[in-house]
């Protein structure tokens, strides 16, 4: 494996991690920004709503004072009438802690009647007179913050600019710590807020808040609203007490981060796994290809060894014998690498005699070839010693045992006399030779004994007197045997092809093989032929 193939998975995983991180961060940031924008818009809306609620409350506070002033004007400052009306609105738990009617058409304002507790702003004081005078000059009510007493209060004064006779003065309590409770579901339910008298947000001007004093001023995402309040204003500052758009908006960035990281890690793991599997598959493929390559090499090597051995065991050339034209062929069958056990042999015995052998060891392989070589040289030795074919076969058959050697061997052994053209044959289970003479072909009739390897066989001699110009063709069964037809069909075909054959014996064999084995015989074929001078 090359190093780039190893690096790729690490790069791939790092790329996925980077992409995943970037996408997660971008999505999370976008969600956070959107949420922040939404939160601010909602805060603005809710603060405005709260401001309008405060405006309504102010109207609710001032309208009893307006009614009281109208009552005084209608009754020309009748204290009883003023007291009768105002009584409902003054008390410890009422709108005001005290209320008073002042006469303001003299040189200086004078209190006429006072209801409720003692006002913080003493009726006779200069501050009180100045505040009431301010009301007579104002088109709206006037407000002042009173912090001189133990508890802070707000003073209200109201007059009618066109009728300078009367003014109404009232004081309203502020909770001790200036802290107010907020009801659930009210306009303030989701807000922290503080109200200030006047346009500033100094703590000294703070009127009410729903948080402790030390938490002021409100920080972070805040919105300020200014509400008209008599001749001044009330400033409302609000901040969200909880996510105004609900929890999802706030949590979404975190959900995206966690989800993005999880998806990225999963993608990294899957990618690494796929890369590993791919690498392993590539390794396997390479291994298999390598093994096949080796196998091819071994196969080729064995085939070469088999062919070399086969050719070494067969004669390089046939002997030259006067008055006799000899030719032979060996054709390896279209099978695997195993060596076959077919052979042929021609031996010059003396001046007048020659011997010939064609044989076939059953089965294939090196041990079949070794047995073939053993028998071939044994028979040759017996023939050279002068034994006739019958004796040679019987002697040889004692040296072969199918139980020990694993093979049977069919052999045709013959000797010929040049002077008489007499041929003597002995046959161990082998196909009889074909005799071709004068355009006719017939098989010699031999009294065959069993193949070598089967003990107890006898091999009677057959004697043929061959005419001049006649030809003997000995062969192994590969030439005639086909799986799909019976033996007689193959024998007849050989005879039919051989009968009209003329020309050199070698050319005759070439013709026979091309006619009978052109499709590539499955079995090995050995052929030996000789023709007498014509």
């Amino acid at each position: 494996m090359t190093s780039p193939a190893r690096r790729t998975p690490a790069r791939l995983v790092a790329g996925i991690a980077l992409t995943g991180a970037l996408l997660t961060a971008a999505a999370s940031w976008a969600a956070w920004r959107t949420n922040r924008g939404n939160e601010h818009r909602l805060l603005v809306l809710q603060t405005r709503q709260a401001a309008s609620v405060i405006s309504s409350a102010i109207i609710g506070i001032v309208s009893p004072l307006q009614t009281a002033l109208q009552t005084a004007r209608a009754t020309d400052g009748d204290p009883a009438a003023f007291r009768a009306y105002v009584n409902d609105h003054v008390g410890p738990n009422a709108l005001f802690v005290s209320a008073a009617l002042w006469r303001t058409d003299g040189a200086a304002p004078v209190p006429l009647v006072s209801v409720g507790g003692a006002p913080e702003l003493a009726p006779g004081s200069a501050a009180a007179r100045a505040f009431v005078s301010r009301a007579t000059r104002s088109t709206s009510f006037v407000v002042t913050s009173i912090t001189t007493g133990p508890l802070p209060r707000i003073g209200y004064a109201l007059a009618v600019p066109t009728d300078h006779r009367f003014a109404v003065y009232a004081e309203r309590a502020i909770p001790a710590n200036r802290r107010v409770a907020v009801e659930r579901g009210s306009a303030f339910a989701d807000l922290h807020f503080a109200t200030y008298l006047g346009p500033t947000t100094r703590t000294s001007a703070m009127q009410t808040a729903d948080v402790a004093l030390d938490q002021l001023p409100l920080r972070g995402n805040t919105v300020r609203e200014t509400i008209p309040f008599g001749d001044t204003v009330l400033t409302l500052v609000a901040a969200p007490a909880r996510p105004l758009g609900g929890g999802l908006g706030t949590n979404l960035p975190w959900i995206l981060i966690v989800g993005g990281v999880a998806v990225t890690v999963a993608a990294m793991v899957v990618a690494a796994q796929l890369a590993r599997q791919r690498r392993s598959a590539e390794r396997d493929t390479a291994t298999i290809a390598g093994l096949y390559g080796e196998l091819d090499g071994l196969y080729g090597e064995q085939r070469t060894i088999s062919e070399t051995l086969q050719h070494a065991l067969l004669p390089r050339s046939n002997p030259t014998i006067p008055h006799l034209e000899i030719a032979s062929r060996y054709v390896a069958g279209a099978h695997g690498v195993d060596i076959g056990g077919d052979w042929y042999s021609v031996i010059r015995l003396d001046g007048d005699r020659f011997g010939f052998v064609v044989g076939d060891v059953s089965g294939r392989g090196v041990d079949a070839a070794a047995l073939m070589a053993r028998i071939r040289f044994t028979l040759r030795a017996y023939l050279v010693e002068g034994h006739d074919p019958r004796v040679a076969l019987e002697l040889c058959s004692r040296q072969v045992d199918v139980d020990a050697d694993g093979h049977i061997v069919t052999v045709l052994v013959g000797t010929g006399e040049l002077s008489t053209r007499r041929v003597t044959l002995a046959n161990a289970g082998h196909p009889s030779p074909l005799l071709v003479s004068g355009g006719e072909a017939r098989y010699a009739v031999t009294a065959a004994g069993p193949p070598l390897g089967v003990r107890g066989g006898t091999y009677p001699l057959t004697t043929l007197d061959m005419p001049a110009g006649s030809m003997l063709i000995a062969f192994t069964d590969g030439l005639i045997e086909r799986r799909t037809e019976n033996l007689d069909t193959g024998l007849r075909r050989l005879a039919d092809v051989a009968a009209p054959a003329t020309g050199p014996v070698d050319a005759v064999l070439t013709g026979l093989l091309s006619s009978l084995c052109s499709d590539g015989s499955e079995d090995d074929v050995a052929i030996l032929a000789f023709r007498w001078d014509g």
């Binding site: 059953s362 089965g363 139980d403 694993g406 065959a448 069993p450 193949p451 089967v454 019976n486 079995d523």
Partner: protein, 108 residues
């Protein structure tokens, strides 16, 4: 090439091995092993090879028959061939092996 198969038939006097398909080098060991198993059955006097469905036999197949015949002879038994197709009969005759086995029977 016809598929080779061996089937052990039961019920007769002798164990019968039904041989089918091409009997060549590739299957001879199998034929020898199965035949020897049949020959080793106690109380029998012969092994019958039913060759009716044999489509082809080469010299390796013949050598397997001889091996089984020799193995049978060693334990005093015989190998009988039955339902031998004409082509195999011809092959046995050409190879001079026909006398080695008991006369083929066609009435099994």
């Amino acid at each position: 090439m016809a598929d080779f198969s061996l089937t052990r038939m039961d019920g007769g006097e002798h164990p019968v091995l039904q041989v089918a398909g091409d009997v060549d080098l590739a299957v001879t060991q199998q034929l020898i092993d199965e035949g020897q198993r049949g020959l080793s059955e106690p109380g029998r006097t012969a092994l019958v090879l039913d060759l009716e469905r044999v489509t082809f036999m080469d010299s390796s197949g013949l050598s397997a028959l001889v091996v089984l015949r020799n193995a049978a002879a060693r334990v005093g038994r015989a190998v009988l061939l039955t339902n031998v197709p004409p082509n195999i009969t011809r092959l046995l005759a050409l190879s001079a092996l026909d006398t080695l086995f008991a006369a083929p029977r066609h009435d099994a």
